[in-house]
């Protein structure tokens, strides 16, 4: 028989209801298979012995709830992840946006910030950083604190440097950070154009109008209905002729907003059409 110390589907629903009632965090639209797997992982990481205790702790201990949010959401990311994607930004998106007087970018689900620093490096190399603003948001305040520090493990730099080169970067990647024991501290100049803020894609509204929205590998954790809702939020937050970028396995197809967008060839980047084309 399946492991008795595990959590069953009914208990997963109970926790989702608890968390919504106690804290206002709404996980009802999350894909259950991933969500359950994260729950089981936390249950076992923290050596929980019974569902009842686990449930009590989540509902009554707000410090533990913070950990719950941190561990339930996936915070795996890289600098210049999918180099080809960054190459497309460099060669196809920013040449257009570069003609604007000001560029507002929203990184939704920015996690620990690797993507924000990659973006800042890209903008700096294209001489656009001064007129850009990067709004980096996440549901999870803990990762945002980390993101604001701009320090990443030095051990990752070899991989990130390879990614950077793959994205069309021609500088010495190590010129963007200084080594500090086991950490690479990225230049403050890169951070100067970032604004970090919590934002919950499920319950929070549009807060500005952007020329570029990136949300990569976040929608995969949502069910179709929630995906459509979030895509609508992005649509409401994106200027005409602005760009929406999703993860390599995500799409606007099947969603009601898709008719207002045109995909950039093979990239997971969509451009919002102007009124005349609608």
């Amino acid at each position: 028989m399946p492991n008795s110390s595990s959590i069953n589907d009914e208990q997963v629903e109970t926790l989702i209801t608890d968390v919504l009632e106690q804290y206002g965090y709404d996980f009802t639209g999350y894909s259950r298979a991933s969500f359950k797997r994260r729950l089981l992982r936390l249950f076992s990481l923290d050596k929980q012995v019974s569902f009842a205790e686990f449930r009590y702790k989540i509902a009554n201990d707000s410090t533990y709830f913070k950990r719950f949010v941190e561990q339930i959401t996936v915070n795996v990311t890289e600098m210049f992840r999918d180099p080809v994607f960054y190459k497309a930004l460099r060669e196809k998106v920013f040449p257009n946006l570069g003609t604007y007087p000001f560029i507002r970018i929203w990184l939704a689900g920015c996690s620990t910030g690797e993507e924000a620093y990659s973006m800042a490096i890209l903008l700096k190399e294209l001489n656009l950083l001064n007129k850009s603003l990067i709004y980096a948001t996440d549901i999870n305040p803990t990762v945002l604190e980390k993101a604001a520090q701009g320090m990443f493990p030095l051990s990752q730099m070899k991989q990130y440097s390879e990614n950077y080169i793959g994205s069309g970067g021609t500088k010495d990647f190590s010129s963007y950070y200084s080594a500090n024991y086991s950490l690479a501290k990225f230049d403050n100049e890169l951070k100067a154009k970032m604004i970090f803020s919590t934002h919950n894609l499920v319950s929070d509204h549009s807060f500005n109008e952007f020329q570029l929205i990136l949300c990569r590998n976040v929608l995969i954790y949502f069910d179709r209905d929630l995906q459509f809702k979030v895509l609508q939020l992005f649509d409401n937050s994106l200027e005409k002729l602005g760009y929406l970028a999703l993860g390599t396995k995500e799409t606007t197809d099947f969603s009601p907003i898709s008719k207002r967008y045109k995909r950039l060839e093979t990239e997971k980047i969509w451009r919002k059409l102007s009124d005349e084309k609608l």
């Binding site: 492991n3 298979a33 797997r37 996936v74 795996v76 929608l219 995969i220 396995k249």
Partner: protein
């Protein structure tokens, strides 16, 4: 097993050669989905599905997230994502931490499939050089599913199937040329 609802095949080093030999002999009227999880380099997805689709008349496709699992289709798990299966028989992709140094991890998909398909699931583990998949086979067995491995003697790298035989309860140990008959008999 009869009335199998899904077959999941996992493999690592040396498994591609096996798939190339076995897929051409799979009955094109096979009434269940075949889901293939193989370890490989990032960004080579379309190459793998293209290659495998030349070996069979069945539809071979790389999985799109939230698509429905259909019978008679061969699904390839994309590189660098874990594959999970939802109760409503749709696929979910997941970019969480690597498991057994692997993403996709065979354990993750075997375990997820076991929860959904229970005793109507068959999982087959092929050649490979680490033990990803072994814990998954244990879960599959716990849920009443059927477990099979490539005969280590016929495997290019025998570690993976050998570990499975050592640690899990394995129903069938198959030579490469026995696999297609076995798979065709599951319907």
């Amino acid at each position: 097993m009869k009335n199998c609802n899904a077959l999941v095949i996992g493999g690592s080093a040396g498994s591609l050669e096996v798939l190339i030999k076995v897929l051409p002999k799979i009955d094109i009227n096979i009434p269940f989905p075949i889901i293939i999880v193989v370890h490989r380099k990032q960004g080579t997805d379309s190459l793998l599905s293209e290659l495998l689709s030349t070996k069979t008349a069945l539809i071979v496709k790389e999985i799109e997230e939230k698509e429905s699992v259909l019978p008679g289709t061969i699904y390839i798990v994309p590189s660098d994502y874990h594959l999970l299966i939802e109760k409503n028989l749709t696929f979910s992709l997941d970019y969480s931490e690597k498991v057994n140094y692997s993403r996709p991890s065979i354990d993750v998909t075997f375990q997820s499939a076991a929860e959904v398909y229970g005793d109507k699931l068959v999982c087959l583990l092929l050649s490979g050089s680490n033990s990803d998949g072994v814990n998954g086979l244990i879960t599959v067995k716990n849920y009443g599913g059927e477990t099979a491995v490539q005969d280590p003697l016929t495997a290019q790298v025998n570690y993976m199937p050998a570990q499975a035989i050592l640690k899990a309860n394995i129903d069938k140990v198959l030579k490469i040329d026995e696999m297609s008959d076995y798979i065709n008999s599951l319907s």
